[in-house]
Amino acid sequence: MTVSAVPLSVRPAPSTPQQWWTLTTRMILPTLANGELATQIIGSIVFTVGFYLPLKNILGAVQPMSSYAQYLTPLIVLQAIFFAAVSAAFRSAMDALQGINRRFRAMPMARLTPLAARMTASMYRCVIALIVSLVCGHIIGFRFHGGPWHTAGFVVLALLIGAALALMGDLIGAATRNPEATAPLLLVPQVTLGLASVGLQPAERFPHWIQPFVRDQPLSQYLNALRALAGDTTPAAPPVTWAVIGPALAWVGASVVLFTWLHARVARRP
């Protein structure tokens, strides 16, 4: 008869949901104390007033909707969600750098549990980002005009985009293992895609050579879909049709598939 080093009755029974929850709280609790949550909230406010106040006159005159707040708020929401993804990248890079991922792999735990916990924490950041940015938008004058179903669609689509971006951030963090570099690295797509999108002014206002890019890049597709779901008092908002929402959903789906596949490759690295 073999005797186990640890009596069977004392052995913990690993439960995946409980492990997931423990690892999730490990990511979320520090954000309350270390200023991450505060930074995220202040950051959203700064970006709202930072785009709105200086650009209200110069660009507000050239957009078709009822107010510049109505036009601008989808971009503010996406920027806030992007910041949540940058935090995700930072945390993921720290975990990869400090070797805790390697320790997790030696533990009796499902392969995907740490990633699932990080993604849950990312979704928590996304929800905060969405709430704060919508409050900011409401204060400058943004309103939902599409009824409860469209409003719910707005929230769901924003969170789906957040999940795709967080997965990208997590992947970049895990792949580079360089916390210092992650935020500046993600700033490049965030700022250049943000400025060269339909978020601040319509595509026709851009120089001709860049108009096709501005119109068709993923951020603009997200903005069109969010704007359609938010609606407007004028008919200038895009209609809620598959032609408008479909491209956004396709980009989200494609990026989730791509980033998950790449993640599996990175995770297999020694």
Binding site: I58, A181, P184, L187, Q201
Partner: protein, 254 residues
């Protein structure tokens, strides 16, 4: 004599580490480059319509400053890591001048910012930016972001030296964002709401931008240059003692 040679040695070490890290160099140059192009594509026409002048004379300085400050955060987090790895403590026990460690950091920041400014200038020249005021003015233009950028770096480094968590220095990005959004490099002063105009006109980033606008396109130079120098000297005076104490504390940890 030893202070100068040790400082230059340590400065060269920091710059070699920076230039050896291809990813950091690429992002600290590519990001401002892309940003300038995107900003010009977005607002170039609008600003020209409002002011009659090319937006580049404000946006090239603004983007140089953004490159300076976003890089300062990477550098400060790097100092935290060297503290936590014990490298600063090792330097402390080497018989070298006490000031060389800190001076070399600031000097390296100055060099880094001039390099970034030069790169942004090259992108600006492609887009249509031109110097019209003379050679001396162009040289002075090149060093303006470094003057304020070194003061800003000193602030971020001080915060980093007292912080345990790398997220804290990153929070200074918010302060930087406020300075950039509400500066005259982003949109002309009269585009801001009335109550915001005094802040937008007198905050340091606007002084640097206006000084550089005067040195390149023409216009008032003395007042904005003086404003830049006063802001930078003021920040340096406030930060000098906490920075020195923080560096000493970080170097003497066991």
């Amino acid at each position: 004599m030893s202070l100068i040679s040790e400082t230059s040695l340590l400065t060269a070490r920091i710059l070699r580490r920076w230039s050896g890290d291809a990813a950091t160099v690429a992002q600290s140059l590519l990001f401002p480059g892309f940003f300038l192009v995107a900003l010009n594509v977005l607002l170039g026409d609008g600003v020209k319509r409002v002011t009659g002048h090319s937006a580049l004379y404000g946006s090239v300085p603004l983007v140089s400053l953004i490159g300076a400050t976003s890089g300062a955060i990477i550098v400060a987090v790097g100092v935290m890591r060297e503290r936590d790895d014990g490298l600063l403590s090792r330097f402390w026990v080497v018989p070298s001048h006490r000031a060389s460690g800190l001076l070399s950091r600031l000097l390296a920041e100055g060099v880094r910012i001039v390099v970034i400014t030069t790169f942004v200038l090259c992108v600006g020249l492609v887009l249509g930016f031109r110097f019209t005021q003379g050679f001396g003015q162009a040289v002075a233009w090149l060093f303006m972001p470094a003057v304020f950028g070194m003061a800003f770096s000193a602030v971020v480094m001080t915060i980093a030296l007292y912080a345990q968590n790398a997220l804290v220095p990153q929070a200074t990005e918010v302060i930087a964002a406020v300075m950039f959004f509400f500066s005259t490099g982003f949109v002309p002063l009269d585009q801001f709401p009335k109550w915001l105009q005094p802040f937008a006109a007198h905050q340091p980033c606007s002084y640097v931008v206006e000084a550089m606008r005067g040195l390149s396109m023409g216009g008032p130079v003395a007042k904005p240059v003086l404003g830049t120098l006063l802001w930078s000297a003021g920040i340096a005076a406030v930060i000098a003692v906490p920075l020195t104490l923080g560096y000493r504390k970080a170097s003497r940890r066991d």
